[in-house]
């Protein structure tokens, strides 16, 4: 069994006596994977075999075949009766029928069928349904029965969602507990014609369960927690049903009109988002309690640091860790934190305090070197303190002494940020600096590809023009008047041109380095200059660059020497910095890192597909390593017109904390705005250089794996040439001992870095998580968005080493296992065919499906290799909010817009079935923004937005909405800018008249 491979500890394998597989999994590189018996990979068989081990103790008698068969029969037999609403109207896709045999065969052995197996197969069913090998994605949206019909009254007031086979018609019980959600209830009528109006929130909600002893198998919410959650309880405890009815329905054999999974019965992410927004949006979220689950990333609220790091900095897959590793293995919920240490904080929240502990540096635990934080317990009248992480008792340094008050707190508790806040910064002393010398302010080096095509299409001119303005806005320390960042310029094609822009020169000097085999920096003084001082020379240079190469017909470019040159320059100048490389072609010139066009579509869908994601040569790897060693971050703007091998080129930016931007077939009039926005944003954003991150944990568990734009020389120090406000690092934790419920699980993330002003700082984020020996607690505190972030990163990392098929299976299996474990241990017994979802994970299957549909994991030859490599890399540094949007794009109806509203319209579920011919929809996933125009969308809307009389007149080439004075246009552009505001990448705006596939089934 290899499910555990990349996602979590391998619980199956260890509790599995029957399967002879090597004891060590968990490593992708392990060659045993490739050679492990194929049977092991089969999810059904594997799970089935595993079941006895996993299910050993509680083991409710599996309903087995009977039940299954009954369910199936039941579903098929009774569904007509039970659906009084209109029958499936446009069930046009025949794909289900094709799959029937296959589904049947996957349930052949009723005896071994356990809930886990069942779930696994249900999920894989889902998978198969949607992406049968080679089968085009079926049109997902046969509007099933009216949504209302799919709701069932759950037999028990559980905190869980139970999916019954088949759809049951149950009138939605009127509820008063839904709060604002209830008010947005819309009559079921409009939805029957497939128009995705505002989601029928209320309809999917159940009456909240009465908390307390009535719950049998489920867990009673502990009273204190309930009290703590207060009003939020209603939202979080709302369970709802519906969903994977299709799985069971199909088992009944092919009925004449094939039964489909009812899309509306699947838990709706929109609803979850909206309900969280409704209950917690706009409120103050104080981080004073250990282990509390923060609002969703989609919810706007004010966060008050009261001892734990803001969820803007750290989000966890679960806020309650299992006490033992056995428990963790049983649940298979990954324990991970997504840390975004430089996250942007809204202006209405307090910025980080800067703490200076003088020349001795920050006070730290003597043993584990954790920094002074609220988790340190002061004892003996304040003379000593006990470290919350390693329990070591340390003396308080004399300068730091303070008396304690009656509850054992220091008198200056609220005066010192490091005692009362979750996040703060320390001034670092020389001991924390490279070579014990204070760092120099960082430098930005702009490196422009001046090969023929870039000159020809005007890109070079565009860049040069833009640099003139954007350099005025170099980031600076808040108190400084001008930026301390120095700038340098290099152009290159087959050779490198350095520029001397020293302020006392009348005109810039160009220094050509042709020795690309062993590149070096030809000058030091005059290469990196202060922009303000050398402004006239720089402007002179930027004016001249396009002309200098106007006659050049050099087509070949180099790449690795360019980065080497930048790195060497920074090394010689002894400062950290960032390279901005504007590149457009495959580097084929004779030089280190020369690349061949190896884009081989034949590899797609084979075990060798992973090669496409790996760099062509090891040069890129070692180059990245060198860059990190010298604090050189690399950001690349790619303008490819054909294959450029993103997998190779992108490696350096990925490992050095840079960003890769890609503009396919860049066309000046269409794409320049997007590019310029990205460039401006990237230059202006908050960034720290030459950073080392260390995640310390309290005893009992430790950080074992790291994902992100990072480089690791050893197992603990996360090195980052630079880290900016958009980059997140996902950290996975494992137990190495028991955790106690009393002390909880504590995290301290310390980032040592150099500021843009050239100061050395330590940024500390502390987070306390609770621990529990109850699985139910664990499931209750999960955060699906963070889980998906983790799953995506670990899967995308695994792509380099394992066949995609295996990875997909692992994802499916682990999801199934997590849910099965819940069902078995936390939910009360129910029909085996019911999918029971914990509240915190009810949209996990949907999201997981979205992840599985991502083009990285899905081998489709029509998606370019570069695009897949690009997205793979993109996701690796994504924060929770970004990955949420990326995998579950926002779909906004525009045609129902209230032109007077200043907020975003309510999103609809991201499914093609939600689109209507009369509608206009905006879809955004963080990379692209599509405006979808239905064929019969209202002409006045089209007139209002595009200023053209009818649908037929719209030019779909445009990438910028015209500025029309109408309220519709104004409103739409406002919405777009609101969506754009928080995103690291400028989204490409596209108008689509037609448009097919979507994320949600």
């Amino acid at each position: 069994m290899s499910q555990q491979g990349y996602v979590a500890t391998p619980p199956y394998s260890q509790s599995q006596p029957g399967i002879d597989s090597p004891p060590h999994y968990g490593h992708y590189g392990d060659p045993s994977h490739a050679t492990s018996p194929p049977g092991v990979m089969k999810p059904v068989g594997g799970l089935g075999a595993a079941a006895p081990g996993v299910m050993a103790s509680p083991g409710p008698p599996p309903p087995g075949l009977q039940h299954l068969g009954q369910n199936g029969a039941h579903a098929s037999g009774h569904s007509p009766q039970r659906f009084p609403g209109p029958p499936p109207v446009n069930s046009t896709a025949p794909s289900y029928a094709q799959h029937q045999p296959c589904t049947q065969s996957s349930y052949p052995s009723p005896v071994s069928t356990s809930s886990v197996a069942h779930l696994g197969s249900q999920l894989s069913q889902l998978q198969i349904n949607n992406y049968g090998s080679g089968v085009p994605p079926p049109s997902q949206g046969p509007p099933g029965p009216p949504p209302a019909a799919s709701f069932q009254a759950p037999p028990r007031p559980l905190q869980t969602s139970i999916l019954q086979p088949g759809s049951q018609v149950l009138p939605p019980p009127p509820t008063t507990l839904n709060g604002p959600g209830a008010s947005s209830l819309s009559p079921p009528g409009p939805r029957q014609d497939g128009l995705p109006g505002p989601p029928p929130l209320g309809a999917q909600y159940q009456p909240p369960p009465p908390p307390g002893p009535a719950l049998g198998v489920g867990y009673p919410p502990p009273p204190h927690q309930a009290a703590h959650y207060g009003p939020q309880m209603a939202g979080t405890q709302l369970s709802y049903s519906g969903g994977f009815a299709g799985g069971a329905a199909q088992m009944a054999g092919p009925p004449p009109p094939p039964k489909k999974l009812d899309p509306d019965s699947i838990p709706s992410p929109i609803q979850v988002i909206e309900s969280d927004r409704a209950t917690r949006g706009g409120q103050v979220y104080a981080t004073n309690t250990r282990g509390q689950v923060p609002p969703l990333v989609t919810t706007d609220c004010v966060i008050q640091d009261q001892g734990n790091a803001s969820p803007r900095y750290i989000r966890c897959t679960t806020y309650c860790f299992p006490c033992t590793s056995d428990m963790a293995k049983q649940a298979q919920i990954p324990l991970a934190a997504v840390i975004k240490p430089f996250a942007t904080i809204p202006s209405n929240e307090t910025p980080l305090y800067l703490v200076n502990h003088g020349e001795n540096g920050p006070v730290r635990c003597n043993r584990c070197k954790a920094y002074m934080c609220p988790f340190m317990q002061f004892i003996e009248g304040g003379r000593r303190y006990q470290c919350g992480f390693c329990s070591c008792v340390n003396d308080v340094p004399p300068f730091y002494f303070q008396h304690l008050d009656h509850i054992g707190r220091r008198l200056d508790h609220y005066e010192k940020p490091e005692l009362s806040l979750g996040s703060y910064e320390f001034v670092a002393t020389l001991d924390y600096c490279r070579k014990n010398k204070p760092p120099s302010p960082p430098a930005f080096i702009f490196m422009i590809d001046v090969s023929y095509s870039n000159i020809k299409n005007g890109l070079v001119k565009l860049i040069c023009e833009e640099l003139k303005t954007v350099l005025e806005k170099l980031p600076k320390e808040e108190q400084e008047e001008t930026s301390a960042i120095r700038v340098g310029f290099i152009t290159y094609n087959k050779v490198l041109h350095f520029f001397n822009v020293k302020s006392n020169l009348a005109q810039p000097q160009m220094l050509v380095v042709t020795d690309v085999g062993e590149v070096f920096v030809p000058l030091l003084d005059g290469f990196l200059v202060n922009y303000q001082e050398s402004q006239s020379v720089i402007h002179n240079l930027l004016d001249q660059i396009p002309e200098l190469f106007a006659d050049s017909n050099e087509n070949e470019t180099v790449f690795v020497p360019v980065i080497q040159a930048g790195m060497e320059a920074l090394k010689e100048a002894e400062c950290p910095g960032k390279l901005y490389i504007f590149h457009s072609s495959l580097p084929t010139a004779e030089a280190p890192g020369k690349l061949k066009n190896r884009d081989d579509k034949k590899l797609v869908n084979t075990d060798k597909e992973k090669i496409l994601f790996q760099p062509q040569t090891s040069v890129y790897d070692s180059l990245a390593k060198d860059c990190v060693t010298h604090g050189c971050s690399v950001t690349i703007f790619l303008f490819p017109s054909q294959y450029v091998d993103v997998a190779s080129l992108g490696l350096v930016p990925q490992l050095t904390g840079g960003t890769l931007y890609k503009y396919n077939n860049f066309q000046m009039h269409l794409d320049s705005q997007q590019f310029l926005n990205d460039l401006r944003h990237d230059i202006e954003k908050k960034i720290g250089f030459d950073a080392i991150m260390r995640v310390r944990t309290s005893t009992g568990f430790r950080a074992t794996d790291f994902f992100g734009g990072i480089f690791m020389n050893n197992t603990t120090d996360v090195e980052m040439a630079a880290i900016d406000c958009d980059k997140a690092v996902t950290v996975e934790f494992k137990h190495d001992d028991k955790l106690s419920e009393d002390s909880g699980a504590l995290l301290q993330c310390a980032v040592l870095y150099t500021t843009i002003g050239g100061q050395r700082r330590l940024r500390i984020h502390n987070l306390g998580l609770s621990c529990s020996s109850q699985l139910a607690d664990l499931y209750k505190s999960c955060e699906t968005d963070a889980l998906i972030n983790f799953f995506a990163k670990s899967a995308f990392k695994a792509v380099l080493h394992q066949p995609l098929k295996v990875i997909r299976e692992i994802l499916v299996n682990q999801t199934a296992h997590m849910l099965a474990c819940y069902r078995k241990n936390c939910a009360s017994p129910s029909a085996a065919s019911q999918l029971i979802l914990p509240d915190s994970m009810k949209i996990l299957p949907v999201y997981m499906n979205c992840l599985l549909k991502n083009c990285v994991l899905l081998s489709r030859p029509e998606i370019s290799t570069d695009e897949r490599a690009y997205q793979r890399q993109l996701v690796m540094t994504m924060s929770v909010a970004d990955s949420q949007l990326f995998f579950y794009p926002q779909l906004l109806p525009i045609h129902t817009l209230d032109v007077k509203s200043t907020t975003l319209p309510a999103a609809v579920r991201c499914s093609e079935s939600r689109l209507s011919e009369e509608g206009v929809f905006l879809l955004a996933n963080g990379l692209n923004m599509f405006l979808w125009l239905g064929v019969s969308s209202p002409p006045e809307l089209i007139q209002g937005i595009f200023n053209v009389p009818s649908f037929a007149h719209i030019n779909t080439d445009m990438t910028l909405l015209p500025e029309v004075g109408s309220p519709h246009s104004h409103q739409l552009r406002m919405i777009m800018s609101m969506i754009q505001r928080k995103r690291p990448y400028s989204m490409k705006e596209k108008s689509n008249k037609q448009w097919k596939s979507f994320s949600e089934p």
């Binding site: 005109q507 042709t514 030091l524 003084d525 240079l541």
Partner: protein, 767 residues
């Protein structure tokens, strides 16, 4: 016939040739017994204002192995229009252009007064002169400023169509592109990486377009390849640009930490310069002018590390085999020099620094290519400035006194063979019938390449008589030698200068007196000195001295008149009288003595010794001392400590230094200010006289000598005291008991002691 002295002088003036023997011993055995080899000093381009070049091609002997040029010594049959080659006796038809030839209508080359004649030939395209400046930027600010000014000034001296290029170096090497507007562009090379010529050309983008060029050339001979014009531009086009570029030249921007030398990539810079010219203008007259202010400290050709606490190698280190970088560096520069010579380019080195700059290692660059070597303390001195300016001095025709890419070919009549040459040349390895198996100097060839030469460049050429003793040469017959020098004149013309000389053969047994009289002791001294210096480059100093001594003793034994074992009876004829004295001073000279000289200085002195003409060489061996006093007109005096008198002003010219030395009394008078008093105007004149004479010497000499003005007891007086014969030392001062002269505090032997020993050894049987 006039005296030999006049004959010699006449020959020198006409042909630029001085032979050690003007009557040639007729057999090999006799020739070897004469100790001083049959050799000559040849000044190939001796200025001959009275010799206008003829505007036609020379007539060559048709025998392929001979190819001698028609000359006055040839027998001509005017009737048959035939001429017989006097070297191989081949009978040749005159070319059609000579149809009108007759006894009364002779072409110039047949007239006896045209034993030296110059032809202007039209062959191939004329290529402009090329000057490639290679400039060190690791200089002090004022030094760099002075150098920049000198360079800018030099641009105005160049002919407008000359091509110039600029390479600067420090830690990196920059090749400046001169054709660009708006932005100055240069190609940069790492100073630590040795590159092959091909790599350099690839990196400068010179090689690629060369391929189509070669194909296109037969079709369309363009004026110049486009590529080369990026780095080498006609001065009239880029005068302003280059002036600005030089003006903006900054000191090497790389920081130099305390206790370190700046990193200076001379080796790579030179390599790139050579590669650049090699790729663009092979076999075209070009000067690479290297201006450096310190030793190469990194990369190939590094001479010393950058740690200041490790001093640059001294003779002591070299003897102890302690000079880490020397061998490698020398090899690097030798390879460069060979390549440069093969391409017909020459390298000048202008090294101005207080410490050594690595001339020892780099000397081959100038020595093999005929370039100049100039050593000074700073670029901000008149020594450098004027020397540099003098490079561009012009002759009576307004042409530069420089020629390029010369090939010197020596042809001898059958009794003679050529054994080698010593001078600023490299062998072309052309074996022929007149090449001797024995080598003296650079031998084994009858042709040498002299990439850069000027009117004073002089080679020592050594011959071997091969006529066997038992095959006597008929009485009255003459041996002949022809020197054919093909070169590129500074006006870019291709020219051929042909000098044909002949001397009588003499039988040593019967005609020893005559041969003695025909001995040119000055030429012989210089030729022997060149051999000695040539040996000193590869051998230990004492061995060379011992060899010189033995040669001298043997010469004295052969030509002295004495009774055996009676030193007092020893006499030498007039023709030999000065020779021992020259040898005495040569032994003391910096060419053979390294004591008190740095390796760089030795290299510098030897460089100039191997290329100056006879007069200058003699000055170098035995400096000239003039004495100024109230007792009479200025007179040359003995180079002896006894000449240093209190009431005299001495002017010493050692070629490298001009020393004016005020005697004790004169110095006191001057201090007292007598020269300012009208009644002592004569004293003022006396003080002025040596200054005027010194100025005259300074004006004419290249390189500019170090000018030293000192007085009795002055520290600079050491220049004088180290040169004069120490006839009075602290050892014998009181024994002599004389008031005159100044004692020299040295243990060196004096000329008297030397001569006494010589006599004793000459008359003894032991040797």
């Amino acid at each position: 016939m006039t005296t030999y002295l006049e004959f010699i002088q006449q020959n020198e003036e006409r042909d630029g040739v001085r032979f050690s023997w003007n009557l040639w011993p007729s057999s090999r055995l006799e020739a070897t017994r004469m100790v001083v080899p049959l050799a000559c000093l040849l000044t190939p381009l001796k200025e001959r204002p009275d010799l206008p070049p003829v505007q036609y091609e020379p007539v060559f002997c048709s025998r392929p192995t001979c190819k001698a040029v028609l000359n006055p010594l040839c027998q001509v049959d005017y009737q048959a229009k035939l001429w017989a080659c006097n070297f191989c006796f081949q009978r040749n038809q005159f070319p059609p252009a000579y149809a009108g030839i007759s006894e009364v209508n002779q072409p110039a080359e047949l007239m006896p007064q045209f034993s030296t004649i110059e032809y202007v030939v039209q062959r191939g395209p004329q290529s402009p002169l090329i000057f490639l400046y290679v400039v060190d930027t690791c200089l002090e600010e004022d030094d760099l400023q002075a150098l920049k000014e000198s360079l800018q000034m030099s641009l105005s001296l160049l002919p407008p169509e000359a091509l110039v290029g600029l390479i600067t170096f420090g830690r990196m090497v920059q090749v400046h592109e001169l054709s660009c507007e708006g932005i100055s562009k240069s190609y940069v090379f790492r100073g630590t990486k040795d590159l092959t010529a091909k790599q350099i050309q690839d990196m400068l983008g010179l090689s690629k377009p060369a391929m189509p060029m070669q194909q296109a050339r037969p079709v369309q001979p363009q004026e110049h390849p486009f590529v080369s014009s990026r780095f080498l531009q006609p001065i009239h086009k880029i005068d302003m640009t280059l002036t600005d570029l030089l003006g903006e030249l900054q000191r090497d921007p790389w920081p130099v930490t305390q206790g370190k030398r700046p990193l200076r990539s001379t080796g790579v810079a030179l390599s790139i310069a050579v590669g650049l010219l090699e790729g663009t203008f092979p076999n075209t007259g070009a000067r690479i002018m290297l201006f450096t202010g310190g030793p190469p400290t990194q990369g190939p050709g590094m001479v010393v590390g950058d740690e200041l606490k490790v001093p640059i190698r001294s003779w002591h280190d070299i003897e102890k085999d302690n000079a880490r970088f020397m061998k490698k560096a020398t090899k690097h520069y030798e390879m460069l020099a060979q390549r440069t010579a093969a391409n017909g380019h020459c390298i000048d080195i202008y090294a101005c620094a207080l410490d050594q700059t690595g001339l020892l290692e780099m000397k081959c660059c100038t020595n093999l290519t005929g370039g100049h070597m100039v050593m000074g303390d700073s670029f901000n001195t008149s020594l450098f400035k004027q020397t540099f300016q003098r490079i561009f001095s012009k002759d009576f025709n307004g042409d530069f006194r420089m020629a390029f890419g010369a090939t010197l070919e020596v042809k001898t009549s059958r009794e003679l063979k050529v054994a080698g040459a010593i001078g600023p040349c490299v062998s072309l390895n052309v074996k022929g019938p007149c090449v001797s198996e024995n080598e003296l100097g650079v031998g084994g060839t009858s042709q040498w390449k002299i990439c850069g030469l000027d009117p004073t460049s002089t080679l020592g050429i050594y011959f071997e008589v091969i006529n066997q003793h038992n095959a006597p040469i008929p009485q009255g017959s003459r041996g002949a030698i022809q020197f054919v020098t093909q070169y590129q004149h500074s006006s870019t013309q291709k020219r051929i200068r042909v000098t044909t000389i002949a001397r009588n053969w003499a039988d040593v047994q019967s005609q020893l007196q005559l041969i003695e009289a025909a001995f040119d002791q000055e030429a012989a001294a210089v030729l022997m000195a060149r051999l000695g210096v040539f040996r000193a480059e590869s051998e230990e100093g004492p061995d060379v001295l011992r060899w010189l001594d033995r040669q001298l003793i043997r010469l004295c034994q052969k030509f002295g008149q004495y009774n055996k074992e009676d030193p007092t009876s020893f006499r030498l004829s007039d023709a030999f009288s000065l020779y021992p004295q020259f040898m005495f001073h040569l032994r003391r000279s910096p060419f053979l003595q390294v004591f008190n000289n740095s390796p760089d200085e030795s290299s510098y002195y030897r460089h100039h010794f191997a290329r100056q003409d006879l007069t200058q060489s003699l000055i170098m061996i035995q400096p000239i001392l003039y004495s100024y006093s109230f007792h009479g007109p200025p007179e040359p005096v003995l180079l002896d400590s006894s000449s240093i008198l209190a009431d005299r002003i001495l002017l010493m010219d050692t070629f490298f230094q001009i020393v004016i030395y005020l005697g004790e009394t004169i110095a006191q008078w001057q201090k007292a200010g007598y020269q300012d008093m009208p009644e002592y105007e004569n004293f003022k004149h006396l003080l002025q006289a040596p200054l005027d004479d010194a100025q005259e010497i300074l004006q004419a000499r290249f390189p500019m000598p170090r000018y030293v003005h000192t007085e009795h007891g002055g520290s600079q007086a050491r220049f004088l005291l180290s040169k004069v014969n120490p006839s009075q030392t602290h050892n014998n001062l009181y024994a002599w008991g004389q008031e005159t002269g100044a004692p020299i505090l040295t243990d060196d032997v004096s000329l008297q002691v030397f001569m006494d020993h010589l006599k004793k050894l000459a008359v003894s049987n032991a040797c």
